[in-house]
Amino acid sequence: MTGSPYAPHTAAETDAMLDAVGVDSEDELFDIPEAVTFDGSLGFDSKSEARLRREIEATLARNDDLVEFLGRGHYDHYVPSLVSDLSRRSEFLTSYTQYQPEITQGFLQVLFEYQSFLVELTGLPVANCSMYDAATALGEAARLAGRVRETSGSTVLVPDHLHEGKAGVLDNYVAGADLTVERYPMDDGAVDVEAVERAVGDDTVMLYAESPTLRGVIEPSLARLGAVADDHDALFCLGTDIVALALLEEPAAVGADVVVGAADALGLPTSYGMGLGLFATRESFLRQVPGRLVGASEDAAGTRAFTLTLQTREQHIRKERATSNICTNQAWVALRTAMHVASLGADGMVDLAERCVTNARDLAERLDEVVGVQAPVYDRHHFREFVVHTDQPAEAVASDIEADGFAVHTVGEHRLQVCVTETNERHADALVAAFEEAV
């Protein structure tokens, strides 16, 4: 192969086109000064599909075949074939942002339906049609809080149990907005509300809490936290995920001003952390929302149609005064998530969420019976995952368990974390056996 397999020109065509342009060769078309012309070789060969596919399969086969009991913000739920199949229709997959709405109605409608699902699940009236992931959604929420709070406030309060990825991203997102992040303590895996009451002050722009937490705990004090935030005119931001939303108290009902979190739990297979951030908020912050919004309108015939809207918030119009720099986002992942929610339907969503509670409870009870293991560490209600105490050093236990073919998190010297969903529950017996052997 001497050319791109995806450039369809025949040699005769190329010659005719060069003639039409009035040059003798393609090289003549490049207006690059000699001083910066690259005349070396990049040093990589072209390969046939067949050969390259074999190579990539062999490379990826170097991954160990482990059953993952992993979570901490990134979850493996079974993705229905309908999602995998129809999301790959090329009209969806290979389209661009819907800057010409008349010819991209299909995608716009799916995104409108995605927003609608989030509005139903959060109880908040405005949801955007994607952030990169839960961490960047949290960062955007903090920046929004900094803009809408007109006091001299500058502090964002977050739980001690915050995923390191989220914490790292949040630091970078708030630094340029002159905000600072402070941590409040947790008590038995849930928020220490008294400590939060002491920590909140007039300089607090946002109070952030999660349910389920990083430890898989369903937070019991959300309504109180919402009230604390409200008393200090701080935004109450709730972090959660799209499956939990089907079961847990509606964020709007506990006073959430912004809801962020992961929507990729539905729609994406475990993809080494590739995500989809959800973002929903109150109507009063509509013009401060980051990212894209799809709205209903009508066309020349008066028929309902959809379009990107309120684009004056966005970087291509507002430049440095935009609400966010986000341009390319996770639209196709949102499409997959919407398809997954639709596939489950109302019953399926609630059932799946309930299974996240019962699976975690059942597995924790079984692990608790293993000598040298206590689970769950926190005497709370859990969602999908929980912390396990091991009398033996946790790292050694995790390593033994991995040798038996299972991956779990190490979260402390004597603490592991285990996450169970419908995709790995059938391996629960074997996991318990591996624990018995390891401790």
């Binding site: 791109s4 020109h9 910066v36 072209s46 490379t59 901490r72 009209e91 291509h316």
Partner: protein
């Protein structure tokens, strides 16, 4: 070519919303205490065949690269090979991001391989794959610049951005806390060295530049530009949106750029997915490698390991970025190799020049590379675009960059052949001669007719919950 997009319609709506087909309220009856759970959830509950038809119809009411030409300037809408989709769907591609590095050697091998590919293509020394989109790459790059200056005890407050740059450049620099200094373009559409000299100073942290720029023009004075910025102690940032014009022919690193991002969803043909996911890896020269996000992948004893660069800026994504997109980019680059990449640029540039020579609109400035900004003159570029929608082609980017009045920024990419470009030119030439009334009625062959975008913004209805009561309005 005449184009008729599929259109489904029932009583004042096109394909009905899922909520209009069914809404089922389910009571939540959990073992959890009542105060932890919601009372009910109302969602559509449709059968799989109904959903399959819904999404198939909606897909038919959407236009993609595999539907026809998509010459959106600065967006590089290439054909997305089926091959890379198949590779990304391999079951072994899916692993949890918290797996131990020892257990995901295959994933790390691909990531490392892509880092190496990108470093070579860009003439950079180190690459991070973490940023999940081009704008996230810009933000990352500017954070790296900031960390570098701060480590040198040299806090600077400004980032210079040419007026014609992508809006993301301005927004990303502002997001990192910088004042944005807008640099006017010179008479030839390129950076004016005098204006640059006047803008650069002790407060300059970086200049963000696209090359070829957003008019498709190569910044021929790039060596002088780099010198000016470096002499003032600033860094030079390369916006990779237009890298498709240069593959294997010029490298940002060789031009004096210190930091760059790659839009793998543009240059390396991963699908745009209707607006993402993309990926925006960032490359840097060796002096800046220690500031890259953590963790990074490197080789060790015949395998791969993760490490945190010494002065890392931290994280710009919760995990490792958009892995599936990165995997597709890796497969694409490995498939094409050196010769294929060079040819892709050659054909992209040839196609742009050929198309420009075939359309009945002025193309100011030049010579241009992979894209050109034609001017609609006294016509409204956005109106011409609406007219083009009926011709089986997606219109170009309109009214941007502002340097060209009523711009139609056109980038055919390498994936169109001569007859396809001739069709595209015919679509242009047809709308150029169309009268204004005809254009005002366009489009007529797309799924929906001209959409009231002003109304959508004035009366935001952002979910089906906000549509309740619409029926009453319609009959009033």
């Amino acid at each position: 070519m005449r184009y008729d997009q599929a259109r489904y319609s029932t009583d004042g709506v096109y394909e009905p919303l899922l909520s209009e087909k069914d809404e089922t309220a389910v009571e939540v009856d959990s073992e959890l205490p009542d105060d932890l759970t919601r009372d009910s959830v109302t969602l559509p509950s449709l059968s799989e065949p109904e959903l399959a038809r819904h999404y198939t119809r909606l897909s038919q009411m959407n236009y993609g690269v595999e539907t026809g030409p998509y010459p959106l300037g600065s967006c590089t809408m290439k054909y997305n090979p089926s091959f890379t989709e198949d590779v990304a769907a391999l079951p072994s591609g899916g692993v949890h991001p918290d797996r131990s590095p020892e257990s995901v050697q295959g994933t790390l091998a691909v990531l490392h391989g892509l880092q190496e590919f990108l470093a070579e293509i860009g003439g950079m020394d180190a690459v991070t794959l973490q940023p999940p989109a081009g704008a996230a790459g810009e933000f990352t790059g500017i954070l790296v610049a900031k960390a570098y200056h701060e480590a040198n005890g040299d806090e600077r407050s400004e980032v210079i951005v040419p007026a014609s740059a992508h809006g993301t450049n301005f927004a990303s620099a502002a997001m990192a806390g910088y004042e944005v200094v807008e640099l006017p373009s010179g008479d030839d559409g390129r950076v004016d060295l005098d204006a640059l000299a006047a803008a650069v100073g002790d407060e300059t942290a970086a200049l963000m530049l696209t090359n070829p720029n957003t008019l498709g023009l190569f910044e021929r004075d790039i060596v002088e530009i780099a010198e000016t910025v470096h002499d003032a102690g600033g860094l030079l940032y390369y916006d990779g949106a237009n890298l498709n014009a240069l593959l294997g022919r010029a490298r940002p690193g060789d031009m004096g750029f210190d930091i760059m991002h790659y839009n793998v969803h543009k240059t390396f043909a991963t699908p745009h997915g209707g607006g993402g996911p993309g990926a925006g890896p960032v490359g840097v020269v060796s002096d800046l490698a220690e500031y890259l996000p953590r963790p990074q992948v490197r080789e060790s004893d015949g395998g791969y390991e993760l490490f945190d660069p010494e002065r890392s800026i931290g994280k710009v994504h919760g995990y490792a970025g958009n892995w599936l997109v990165l995997l597709k980019a890796y497969a694409y680059i490995a498939r094409l190799g050196d010769a294929g990449l060079r040819d892709a640029s050659a054909k992209a540039v040839l196609n742009a020049n050929y198309l420009a020579s075939r359309i009945d609109l002025d193309v100011p400035y030049g010579p241009f590379h992979h894209e050109f900004a034609a001017t609609a003159g006294d016509r409204d570029a956005a109106e011409l675009a609406k007219g083009m929608l009926d011709h089986g082609v997606h219109p170009p980017t309109t009214k941007w960059p502002e340097l060209v009045p009523e711009a139609m920024l056109t980038e055919p990419t390498e994936v169109e052949n001569r007859s396809s470009l001739d069709d595209l030119a015919a679509a242009f030439n047809s709308v150029v001669t169309a009268d204004e009334e005809t254009l005002a009625d366009a489009p007529t062959r797309t799924a929906a007719g001209r959409i009231d975008q002003v109304g959508a913004a004035r009366n935001p209805r952002l979910s089906w919950h906000a549509l309740d009561g619409d029926d009453a309005d319609d009959t009033a």
